[in-house]
Symmetry: C2
Subunit: 491 residues, 2 copies
């Protein structure tokens, strides 16, 4: 048996599992039980230079001992942000679910790549099961889908397969062979369309913003006007993105009306539901995505509202063979056609990746553990909490809700007493703009909770509070309001 | 405390960790100890339709019990390929290292995204440490780097930043605004350049293959000839990929000579060292990458030879601000400039992704555990094993080595007794072509080992045996030769 001094070349056997055992106990007690308790801090913040000093991250010529490594692990837990903590509201993800965490751990234990059935038999079938469920919920009954490393990549898949469907030659000859393509998305759409257009050789300038109303939803008539304008300019609009659950305000573009326009002009309709897609799990709330079944494709990130660990995101389309036709390169060393099993189960050539991390097992496990009804209850609960919080803020002096929430984003300004009851000039708004960064600094330094803020269009800095954490309860909503007040009332 | 019936909305607390505990024990005993023992099968193969029947993968309306879930987990282990098994030689990855596995588990336990220091303080610093080490080993002393979801994506990063460096306007206006670009890579280069060129709007036809010699290395004079030819045709070659460790034969293109040509014609030199990059860890073998410090960029997948779980791949470049300049979109909701800490630590805008899985911790842990010297010993050992195997094959009747190995790929035909001593006509080769698929089927069905095969250029189907598994020993090399013979001698 090998020793546990850290220098073993393969620590998978016998006593060397000692390290894993100790780490496991540490994760359960420090990471999960203590770390996520409401009495613990969400973050023990240190500035980069200080953290570099506290944690000795240098790697040496010789290996470290198990004890040294466990000490580092303990510091990793201590100084990392507790994204699973019930007071973490900073991002569109949060919380910890033991089943998906277990699924993740098992994935890494089996460590394989999702490209062929040959090396990923179980995971290939599991991917099929969860993606089929997602396709059914959308209403893409004979479609196809794939997990991608994030929603941004899924949006890029959409931009690419839509381009290929219209001009199949683009795969071989590139953009040189096709007209000047452009795509449309609302001015509240996610920035991945810009990054994507740039990466895919279309160019950021050819991502045309469509105006939104005060609530942040795309205005259909503005979309139609833009399409006509662009055509007049000799550009070729080919792709419209509707956002279902915008990143900041959390609202849903009107899918049915956008679908009508896409149909009229023969444009690909993509729906970026990276964030909002999970409302499809709820009978009560899925109406927000009415019309989704008419789209050509959709992005859906389970790792946001559903809660499995990053990364878990899918690109889904109604067009059956398109992913394969658009992306295949027929690499002979991987996708041999003379294998002895049914090679239609090899999914790798549908991807733009080669090795592809298994992202299906953790979602499958979680879904199996909860059942459809469990996920439905979760989504309903998160939305309910966000409505409760909005009402609290409406009834509390100093809080001003930015827009009517649809998804679980609650966006608000906090107006400290010193700024209340004054004329709301632009100077006044400039003062309000400075409030959120200070409160954010204080909450971070004190570690009591984490909520993001940003300006948005004409609106100065406001908080974007996200309820995406299954361990959050009514009491945590009340905590947020009180805590914002506590941290900001002297400003 | 919540119950363990699988319907809990958040299973992170108290008794509900019961599931994780049981799963943990199962992973250690069934997944690692039993699963990776030489007495166990590498795979318990079932055809897709049969496996669908054996494993009940259907997800229901109501949640499953912990016991049901654990039963599935047990089946996941049973029917998955054991990529950590000492007789798994099928891919460029393999093996299990307890430190990187632990690092992976801890990553998922802390579940955050790598985009901002705000939500990933420790991981941001760790990413910096390991990437800096990698940059130093390459000799990019003032460069920049980022983890990407796989080597294919890293290669696409290269194609993109090189394009941007030459024509910064491409970011805004797309390919319409630039000349007809093309890129060169050897005819043994990885297929991700084709997928990438297609995805990035350059087109597969504009990936120009450069001839290789019999050993599979790019011929520099062919490169130069092609460049001149392309220019004559009015195309603009802008990017040359040299492969360091080709996918099938595992050889290294002559970097110094290619660097001379790139310099002469002002072309970006990328080195796809997804597979071979790890030889830089060895004093003895790093000469294979002589000249790497002259490249503009490099792809390096630690998840291949170094052994942390998928995904762990990096794009590295000598050009300091290029990643940021090329990819930034300045999303205001994420990369606020009025944060109270030094925002130069926010790395997210260098990526084309938004949410980015933390891939640094597992590599950091493994490297810290082994030290530089441990990794060096590992790499030396793997190469030594591959040389030992090659020699065995040279001295054993019926084995024919395809090419002189450099990396740890050992490519060979097995010529069964019935085909020995005959004239090697094309009919004869057609018969040889049928040998590997049958042996592969038998080894899979019997589960004794896994080795891939493929044709390559004019060469008919041959085995590509990869030594990438730190738990493999001399005895396993002997096993391979005997086992191939046992499985194929009647053919
Ligand atoms: C030489 C080479 N480059 C790139 C890649 C792609 O790496 P990944 O599978 O991580 O996308 C591979 C994969 O085998 C490879 O062999
Ligand atoms: C609406 C929307 N689309 C896409 C994305 C990108 O998803 P990912 O971070 O997985 O790339 C986000 C991320 O927040 C988002 O809010």
């Amino acid at each position: 048996m090998e020793q546990t001094n850290g220098n073993v070349s393969n620590g998978a056997h016998g006593e060397t599992n000692a390290f894993l055992r100790q780490l496991f106990e540490m994760m359960l007690t420090e990471g999960i039980e203590k770390g996520l308790s409401r009495d613990s801090k969400v973050v023990e913040f240190k500035h980069p230079k200080d953290l570099e000093k506290i944690m000795n991250l240098k790697i040496d010529g010789e290996g470290a001992s198990d004890q040294d490594l466990l000490d580092v692990c303990s510091d990793v837990i201590k100084y990392s942000v507790k994204a699973g903590h019930p007071h973490f509201f900073n991002q569109l993800f949060g919380g910890i679910d033991q089943y998906s965490l277990g699924g993740s751990w098992l994935t890494d234990c089996m460590n394989t790549s999702q490209y062929t059935y040959e090396v990923a038999p179980v995971f290939t079938l599991m991917e099929k099961v969860v993606l089929t469920k997602m396709l059914e919920l959308i209403g893409f009954n004979d479609g196809d889908a794939i997990f991608t490393p994030g929603g941004s990549m899924a949006n890029m898949y959409a931009i690419n397969v839509a381009r290929f469907q219209r001009y199949p030659e683009v795969k071989q000859v590139g953009m040189a062979g096709v007209p000047k393509l452009c795509l449309l998305t609302s001015d509240k759409g996610h920035y991945s369309f810009k990054k994507g257009a740039s990466f895919l050789g279309i160019g950021m300038d050819n991502v045309i913003p469509v105006k939104t109303n005060d609530g942040g939803k795309m205005i259909p008539v503005e979309l139609e006007t833009k399409i006509l304008e662009l055509k007049e300019q000799g550009l070729e609009p080919y792709f419209v993105n509707a956002t279902a659950g915008t990143t900041v305000l959390g609202v849903f573009d009107p899918l049915d009306e956008i679908a009508d326009i896409c149909k009229k002009y023969g444009l690909w309709m993509h729906v970026d539901a990276a964030w909002g897609g999970s409302v499809l799990l709820s009978q009560k709330h899925k109406h927000m995505m009415k019309g989704i079944e008419r789209a050509d494709s959709m992005t859906w990130n389970p790792h946001k509202m559903m809660g499995p660990p990053l990364q878990c995101a899918a690109f889904l389309t109604r067009h059956k063979d398109l992913l394969k036709d658009c992306h295949c390169a027929n690499a002979r060393y991987l996708f041999q056609q003379d294998k002895f099993y049914d090679v239609s189960y090899d999914t790798g050539d549908k991807a733009i990746q080669c090795g592809r991390k298994v992202d299906a097992l953790k979602l499958w496990m979680m879904w199996k553990a909860k059942g459809d009804s469990g996920f439905e209850r979760d989504v309903d609960k998160l939305i309910e909490l966000s409505r409760y919080l909005t009402n609290q803020m409406r009834n509390r002096e100093g809080f001003r809700v930015v827009a009517e929430p649809e998804c679980t984003n609650v966006c608000f300004w906090y107006i400290p007493p010193s700024l209340r009851g004054q004329e709301e000039t632009s100077e006044w708004w400039q003062k309000v703009a400075k409030v959120a960064p200070v409160i954010k600094q204080r909450m971070t330094e004190q570690g009591t909770m984490l909520i993001g803020y940003q300006p948005d269009g004409d609106r100065v800095n406001f908080f974007r509070m996200i309820v995406s954490n299954m361990s959050a309860e009514i009491e945590d909503m009340t905590f947020v309001v009180n805590e914002i007040e506590r941290l900001g009332k002297d400003l």
